[in-house]
């Protein structure tokens, strides 16, 4: 949204509920499927009020059957409805990858356009005290699949705008939020507004290094930029927002200005988001100093000490930037 648009401070969950409500009103074919999204309003209350307004035929509580949930959402979308399927945690997307990847992502191509699957799979990534099978970030897997769009907001305003676009997209979209975003509040434009996919946002301008990230990690990355500023390093923070399509132009332009790129993600590094954006940016900016920051190669424990130790945070991000800019300094993360 343009910064001057009138906006009101809303919780992340409220922004999601508003996007859903508006799109449910606009598109009577839109169905919502998910565990505990009806009377309960969703595990994070981001579906609150929707059952009351739209009724149980359009807001459907499902069994714990992620594979079938996504299969139904995809099938209904292919048959003329539009659907949003809520998969509580991204770890539980695994059983549902078959309908999403083997069917939905292929559908438009394989039927030569006779069918398409305008389904939104909304799911929650990342760690917040729930342990090894409730904390993973699988965005990179999804970016690897042609035919899927993948978006990951970091703020209520973007969640609102990106979800609206997702709910109007011609094919499957995975909308990835994060457990730590739900307690957050931030400005959401008062007027109806969708944010197009494929547009990164510069969250902080800087001259010395570009920090690229997405989703929740935007916040520790901004904190890292602030601490770098105290140390006299001017960091630009680029938030990707849309992972597929990827806005390499904005990122490469920033990296070309700063000459250095640190790719930050909460997920695992090998074949991760950072590996991809590093490759793509270097295609545009060959002489670039590049580093990446991500999870340590260990499962994410529910133990708060171990969880924190395994994931990137502002000090580690800042340390990576400092190391990149002054390779001789020999700091450790």
């Amino acid at each position: 949204m343009p910064p001057e648009a009138p906006a009101t401070r809303r919780f992340f969950r409220e922004a999601i509920a508003r996007a859903l409500r508006e799109e449910m009103r606009r598109d009577p074919s839109l169905l919502l499927l998910g565990q505990d999204i009806g009377a309960f309003g969703g595990p994070y209350r981001d579906f609150e009020g929707l059952l009351a307004e739209f009724g149980p035929a359009r807001v459907r509580d499902t069994p714990v059957a992620e594979a079938a949930m996504v299969g139904l959402g995809v099938g209904a979308a292919a048959a003329g409805a539009r659907t949003l399927v809520a998969i509580t945690y991204m770890d539980f997307l695994m059983p549902a990858l078959d309908p999403l990847v083997n069917y939905a992502a292929k559908l438009r191509f394989k039927t030569a356009g006779q069918l398409a699957a305008p389904v939104v799979v909304k799911t929650t990534a990342g760690a917040k005290g729930q342990g090894v099978a409730h904390s993973q970030c699988l965005e990179a897997w999804l970016m690897n699949v042609p035919g899927l769009a993948v978006v990951a907001p970091s703020s209520p305003g973007d969640a609102y705008g990106l979800l609206k676009t997702a709910l109007r997209a011609p094919g499957p979209v995975v909308f990835v939020d994060h457990k730590r975003l739900f307690p957050m509040a931030g400005p959401v434009p008062d007027a109806e507004a969708a944010i197009p996919f494929g547009l990164a946002a510069i969250r902080r301008a800087g001259r010395d290094v570009t920090l690229a990230t997405h989703g929740w990690m935007t916040h520790p990355t901004l904190a890292a930029a602030a601490s770098l500023a105290e140390a006299g390093i001017s960091a630009e923070v680029v938030e990707l927002r849309s992972l597929a399509p990827l806005d390499i132009e904005t990122l490469a332009a920033s990296a070309a200005r700063t000459g250095a790129l640190v790719a930050v993600e909460e997920g695992q590094l090998p074949c991760g988001v950072g590996a991809e954006i590093a490759f793509r940016v270097r295609e545009c900016v060959p002489a670039l100093a590049v580093a990446r920051v991500g999870a340590r190669p260990v499962p994410v424990s529910s133990n708060p000490v171990l969880e924190a130790a395994s994931l990137p945070d502002a000090p580690r991000i800042a340390a990576a930037a400092r190391r990149l800019l002054r390779p001789s300094a020999g700091e450790t993360a």
């Binding site: 959402g73 099938g75 048959a79 659907t83 030569a112």
Partner: protein
């Protein structure tokens, strides 16, 4: 649909598959020989407002559903005259405008998709029903359980049809499926279920009609098990794993021979000739269709 029409459909399926099998360039195919009565009997009760989904064993289902045989053959041969412009082939053949929502080559992968189509029908108050055809092998997959449960809870207009040919590739049903009857799997969910001789096309039609009527009347999902035979090997690339004696016993259950005998050679012979002619014509038309070229890929992104 009359018994003669069922025979006509089955003969067309057999004739098309036989011609395809004879071609060196036929590609990787799964044939329905022996299972035509399931496709024909089921499709006899589906109307234009209904949709059919099936597994990768799709040729007979597509033809029985009434797709243009020339277009089906074009698709199988990778020609742009196919409904999917030769991109999908047998494994993913689809023509939703003709009520054939499509094949999906992932075993059991079409079950929840079909339930989704039924959900869209229900949500839009569309009158049709959705049928999904799968094998006994698919019945061991968790997708069936999840889909039965949701279809029952939500009373979806969905007809589950299992063509139980007794084999998952080389594995006999006794080794891959504990229940003696696949239809028993539907019962805990309160879903009406029947088992029928799948080599008896009129019997399949009549059983499907009864179940479909219940669905159309708002009774929610139903389940039909058709006990069928697979006359040939699993696929064009699979070795035949059954003995000669086994195969001879199966051949005696050929649904086409059975219905031909019932209707009499005087009726069957001209139908056979017509099917052969239709199949020949379909291949001629299909071969005149231009092969898909790499340009198709430009449409993918």
């Amino acid at each position: 649909m009359s018994d003669a029409a069922l025979l006509r459909t089955m003969l067309l399926c057999r004739a098309v598959e036989a011609r395809l099998a004879a071609r060196p360039d036929c590609g990787f195919q799964l044939f329905s020989a022996g299972e035509e009565a399931v496709a024909a009997g089921l499709c006899a009760v589906l109307g234009p407002g209904d949709q059919l989904l099936c597994s990768g064993r799709s040729i007979a289902p597509a033809l029985a559903r009434g797709l243009d045989p020339a277009a089906v053959v074009a698709e199988l041969l990778g020609r742009t005259g196919g409904p999917c412009r030769g991109r999908a082939g047998r494994g993913h053949l689809a023509q939703p405008s003709a009520g054939f929502f499509g094949a999906h080559a992932v075993v059991a992968g079409n079950l929840s998709i079909a339930a989704g189509v039924a959900l869209a029908f229900q949500a839009a108050a569309r009158p049709g029903i959705v049928a999904v055809l799968f094998g006994d092998g698919a019945a061991g997959a968790g997708a069936l359980h999840e889909t039965l449960n949701i279809a029952a809870l939500w009373q979806l207009p969905l007809l589950f049809v299992c063509s139980n040919n007794g084999w998952s590739i080389s594995t006999p049903a006794a080794a891959h499926l504990a229940p003696a009857r696949v239809a028993d799997l539907a019962r805990p969910f309160g879903i009406p279920a029947a088992t029928v001789d799948g080599t008896d096309a009129p019997a399949v039609r009549d059983a499907a009609a009864a179940l479909a009527a219940g669905i159309r009347a708002g009774g929610g999902p139903a389940f039909l098990e058709a006990v069928s035979v697979r006359l040939g090997p699993h696929s064009t690339s699979a070795r035949e794993s059954r003995t000669r004696a086994d195969l001879a016993a199966l051949a005696a259950r050929d649904p086409i021979a059975r219905l031909s005998a019932a209707l009499g050679e005087a009726l069957a012979a001209p139908l056979r000739a017509a099917a052969d002619a239709a199949a020949d014509a379909a291949f001629r038309t299909a071969e005149a269709s231009p092969p898909a070229t790499a340009d198709e890929l430009d449409d993918a992104a």
